[in-house]
Structure formats: C-alpha cells, structure tokens
C-alpha cells in the first residue's frame, strides 16, 4: 500500500551547511498495519512522517502510495491525498483555537462534502463516538488536554482516510490519558485504518504491531514484529 524507496532528505542549516535528516530509507507498510517509528529527538522522525504524509518532498527516492509516486503529482493532488487518504495527529493537537470542537473536526469534511450541515452531523457523530458529545461547542481553552487530543483524532479520521499519521500523539499526555488515546488508535486500527506513529517513548511504540528505530536519519534495527 505504502512504500518508501531509497528516500533521503537534506536540509540547509543556519550555517548554510547541508545536513542529512534522512538517509536511504526503505519501508513497506501494508493496509491495516499499525507501525511505530521510535527515535530520539532530532533523529528525523517528524521529517519522515511529513514525507509519508505528502507534505515534504524528499531530496531523493520515491514514496509510493498504492503504486503511484506521490511526489510525481501536483501539489493539489497531494492536498487531495491529505484530505481523503491521510489523517494527521500532532503532539500539540494543532486545533484552531477560535473554533469549537465541532468546527475543528468538521473543517476537513467541509472540503469534501461541501455542506456545512452534513459536515457538522458527521463531526458530531464522531465526537460522540469518542466520548465528547457534551463538548461539541467547547473551544480549545475549555477542553482538557486529553479531550483536545481526542478532538484532533476525530479531525484526522473525519474523511475516513486509509492512513493515520501521528507525530508524538501522547507527548503532552499523562500515563492515564496516554493509555486512553493509544487504545483509540488501536480501535481505529482494528476498524481498518493503517496507523503510523512516531514517538520517542518505547511504551507508546509497544502498542504497534511493528516498531522501527530511527537514529540519525536511518533505521537502525530493522523491524520488531509483534
């Protein structure tokens, strides 16, 4: 389903030096898989996630989604992938602060179904399913940290994407909330979504079927299948 072939990504740092963030990354992810990529800060995890998520062109290599190199396509095609095929979840949730939970979740749906009413209905159903039925009209500041991440999760799946990408999704959560959010990822994975999480926490990575370790832009230990 998703395949990375010899992917590399370089950056120019503040001293105008070329720095390799990722080197020779090869990866295959099958539909319905739950994959964790573990590594310390600066190892290239987020860069890899953004490349998989059609947000960041690799310097070299190919990223094939269903056999098609997503970076051989137009920016609007890739925007379409992010809208329909890929959902993102971030460490700091990235909710729009002046929108309610319902509006935050319904934004991507409005782009696909073009109807505010239907988008709100779908968002409302999702939020209720994730235990936030009483929080629909609450703004960012009125939600607990765990609730914010659940809202972000709802937003990532509102268009029913095949792939969910999560960048340190439990980085700001306490252990109880971490368990709660990770069980939601498990639930989403069980319902057919492919889940890829990058994290620096081994305990979080352990929720996945497959764990990859990334160090200095390279996979170090291959895969740990569970």
């Amino acid at each position: 389903m998703l395949e990375l072939k010899n992917v590399a990504r370089d950056f120019i740092n503040n001293k105008k030096e070329q720095v390799a963030a990722l080197t020779d990354i090869n990866l295959k992810v099958e539909k319905g898989e739950f994959l964790s990529i573990v590594g310390p800060s600066g190892s290239g995890k987020s860069t890899l996630l953004f490349i998989i998520g059609a947000l960041l062109n690799p310097s070299e290599g190919e990223v094939l989604l269903n056999g098609k190199n997503m970076y051989d396509t137009t920016p609007s095609y890739r925007a379409g992938l992010r809208l329909r095929e890929i959902g993102f979840v971030f460490q700091t949730f990235n909710l729009i602060p002046y929108l309610s939970a319902l509006d935050n979740v319904s934004v991507p749906a409005m782009l696909t179904i073009k109807s505010r009413k239907k988008a709100n209905e779908r968002a409302s159903e999702l939020l209720q399913r994730f235990g936030l039925g009483a929080r629909l009209e609450h703004n960012f500041s009125e939600l607990s940290v765990g609730e914010r991440q659940r809202v972000a999760l709802c937003r990532s799946v509102i268009n029913n994407p095949d792939i969910i990408l999560a960048d340190e999704p439990t980085g700001n959560l306490d252990p109880a909330m971490t368990r709660e959010v990770m069980s939601l990822f498990k639930e989403l994975n069980s319902s057919g979504h492919t889940v890829i999480i990058v994290t620096h926490e081994e305990e979080v990575a352990a929720y996945a079927q497959k764990v990859l370790h990334l160090q200095n832009g390279k996979f170090t230990n291959g895969t740990n299948n569970r």
Partner: protein, 361 residues
C-alpha cells in the same frame, strides 16, 4: 473565515480605521477642487458684487441657508464705516437684521432693513411686507393685520413673486425687527456696495474688519482667493499626499497579512496538513485583505463627509461635501492594492517548509 476575523478583531479594526482615515483624506483631496468651486459659485452668486460684513463666528453656510445664529454686532456699525477713512469707498451701506421666527406654527424669516425700498412698500414702523408663501400659509392679503409676539402690523404688500429665497420672509423696518427678535441696537449683517475695481479688495476688507471689531468682511474676491490658496496648497502637496496615502494603504494591508501569517503560521501548516491547497490558503488571506480594504474604503468615504465639512468651514468658511463619484474608483483601487499587497506574502508562507510550521517548539 468570519470566525478568524472575529478572533483577530482588534488588528482588523485598526487596519480598517487606518485605511479609512487615509481614504478619507484622499477623497477630500480629490473632491475639494470641484466641490469648493461649485459651492463658491453659489455663494458668490448670493453675495453679488458687494461686501458682506457679518459678526465673527457667523456660519456662512447656515447664514446663506437662512438659519441665523445668535451672533450680532452694533447697528451703528454702518455709521461708523461711513465716518471712517474707508467710508469713502463705500457707496451704499445697508444694516440688516435677520432672524428665524415661528408665527402661528409656521417657520418664517424676519428681515429687518432701514432702507426704504419702494419695492417693499413699508413706510412706517407698523407696516410690513411679506413673501407670497408666508402670506399663503398665514392666510393673509394686502391690508390685513398680523400680530407677531404682541406687536401689531399691517401688511403693506404681498411680494409676488418674492425675491429669490424670500418666499417665507417678513420684511419690516430694522427697529421693529430688533424689537421682535429681542436684539435692540443690534444687526447681524451689513451690506456694502461700491466700485472697488482699483482697490486691493482683500486689503480693503481687512481695513473694514479693523474698523469694525469682531466682524468678518466677506467678498467674492476674498472667497475666490481662499479657494485659489487652498487649491494651490492641495496641488502642491497632492503628489506627496497620494504617495503617502498609497504607502499607508499598502503598508497596512501587508502588515495585516504578515501579522495574520506570523500569528497563524502553525494554523497554515495545519490547514496544509488537513488537505487545504496552497491556493485555498492564499485565496482565504486575499479575501480577508480585500474585505478589509473595501470596508476601509467605504468607511473612508463616509468619514470624508464630516472631515470635508469641517475643512470647508475652518479654512474656507463654507460647507463642502465630498463627491461620491470617486467612490467606485477608491473601492476599486483599494481592492487592487489589497490583492497585490496580500498575494505575495500569502503565497510566500505557503511555500515555507510545513515541517517548520508544524514542528513542536
């Protein structure tokens, strides 16, 4: 988008107000010449070739609209002029007292004059002459009696047609008008005629004002000069005004966009990550800038009405109104400027590395 504007209402309001101020200044600059010229033509038509001396503080616009204020001057000012050195240039001097009065529920104008003009036909302090309109609303004809504030008058004549603008006027001797208007020994206008072809009219007006303290001497020449001076100043600063105005408008739009982008960098990264195309984000920002600029331009036009009125009264002693003919031009120009000024920064930020926009600090 509206929620975003509401969230950042303060900065949007500031930008709109700045734009409105700039636009109002430019509207005034643009409309001043034609509006002032038209108004001065009207006023000088009323003024004729003579000189009008009125008490200082008189609102000329109201005066010519026959709404008289409380400003008065002594009624011996006519004699004082005659006896002064400037008197030899004044062939005819007419002291007048004008006032507004309500008679039997009708708003009328009192005109008190010492001149024994046969046209008006009053020869004693009990006879008056009234305009056709006033006679009609009061149901009076020649020879009837009229009581005004306890004073009885006989109508010597009904003016048909009345002098222009005096349809609702009651003409009476100055003393009677002073009595009715409760302004004994006072007048509020002195009309002077004469041949001043070889005189420096502005200098002459200055001498009249010196001779009659607390007065303004208004002449066609003076008004024309005031307009010419204002026009010259406007002409002189026109380019600077336009450049400054354009820079301020462009600057405020660019500031607005950069502010929105700076404050909303992560939001842009997020919108990109959830499927917004760069084009949609650019469109959203441009739309907000265009909306702000159109509101600013409209508000600027509205603000230019009181600004221009104040400007005219302060510097030219006349009321001016801006030309609405410029509205489409200013709205279009603001729209184009907003488009151009917001397009690049909006495009630029969507080209930034989303990993930087979204990366945790």
């Amino acid at each position: 988008m509206l929620k975003e504007i509401r969230h950042r209402w303060l900065i949007h309001t500031l930008v709109i107000l700045l734009m409105a101020f700039v636009i109002s200044v430019l509207v005034i600059q643009s409309s001043l010449n034609s509006s002032a010229e038209d108004r001065i033509k009207e006023l000088t038509h009323d003024l004729g070739k003579g000189m009008l001396v009125v008490p200082q503080g008189t609102d000329l616009e109201s005066f010519y609209s026959m709404k008289y204020g409380p400003e008065v001057m002594p009624d011996d000012y006519g004699d004082r002029i005659k006896q002064s050195p400037v008197g030899r240039h004044a062939g005819k001097i007419q002291p007048w007292l004008y006032g507004n009065i309500n008679v039997q529920g009708n708003d009328l104008i009192i005109v008190g004059r010492t001149v024994n003009n046969p046209r008006y036909g009053y020869t004693d302090s009990q006879s008056i002459t009234i305009g056709k309109g006033a006679a009609s609303v009061l149901g009076l004809k020649k020879g009837d009696a009229l009581d005004i504030r306890g004073n009885s008058f006989r109508i010597a004549r009904v003016l048909d047609p009345p002098p222009k603008g005096y349809d609702m006027a009651i003409f009476m001797p100055l003393g009677a008008a002073q009595n009715i208007l409760d302004k004994p020994g006072k007048i509020n206008a002195l009309n002077m005629g004469g041949c001043w072809c070889k005189l420096d009219v502005a200098g002459f007006a200055g001498e009249v004002e010196n001779t009659l303290p607390g007065t303004m001497a208004i002449t066609v020449d003076g008004m024309a000069k005031a307009q010419t001076q204002i026009n010259a100043i406007m002409q002189q600063y026109s380019t600077l005004l336009w450049i400054t105005g354009t820079v301020l408008v462009v600057g405020s739009i660019v500031f607005l966009i950069f502010y929105m982008l700076h404050k909303g960098e992560r939001e842009i990264g997020l919108l990109l990550s959830i499927g917004f195309t760069p084009g949609k984000i650019i469109f959203k920002n441009i739309t907000i800038a265009v909306l702000s600029s159109i509101i600013g331009a409209l508000l600027g036009h509205i603000l230019s009405v009181p600004f221009m009125s104040w400007f005219g009264k302060t510097f030219m002693r006349i009321g001016l109104i801006p030309s609405w003919d410029y509205l489409p031009h200013f709205v279009s120009a603001s729209l184009v400027i907003a488009l151009l000024a917001s397009a690049f920064p909006s495009w630029f930020v969507t080209r930034l590395d989303p990993t930087r926009l979204l990366r945790e600090e």
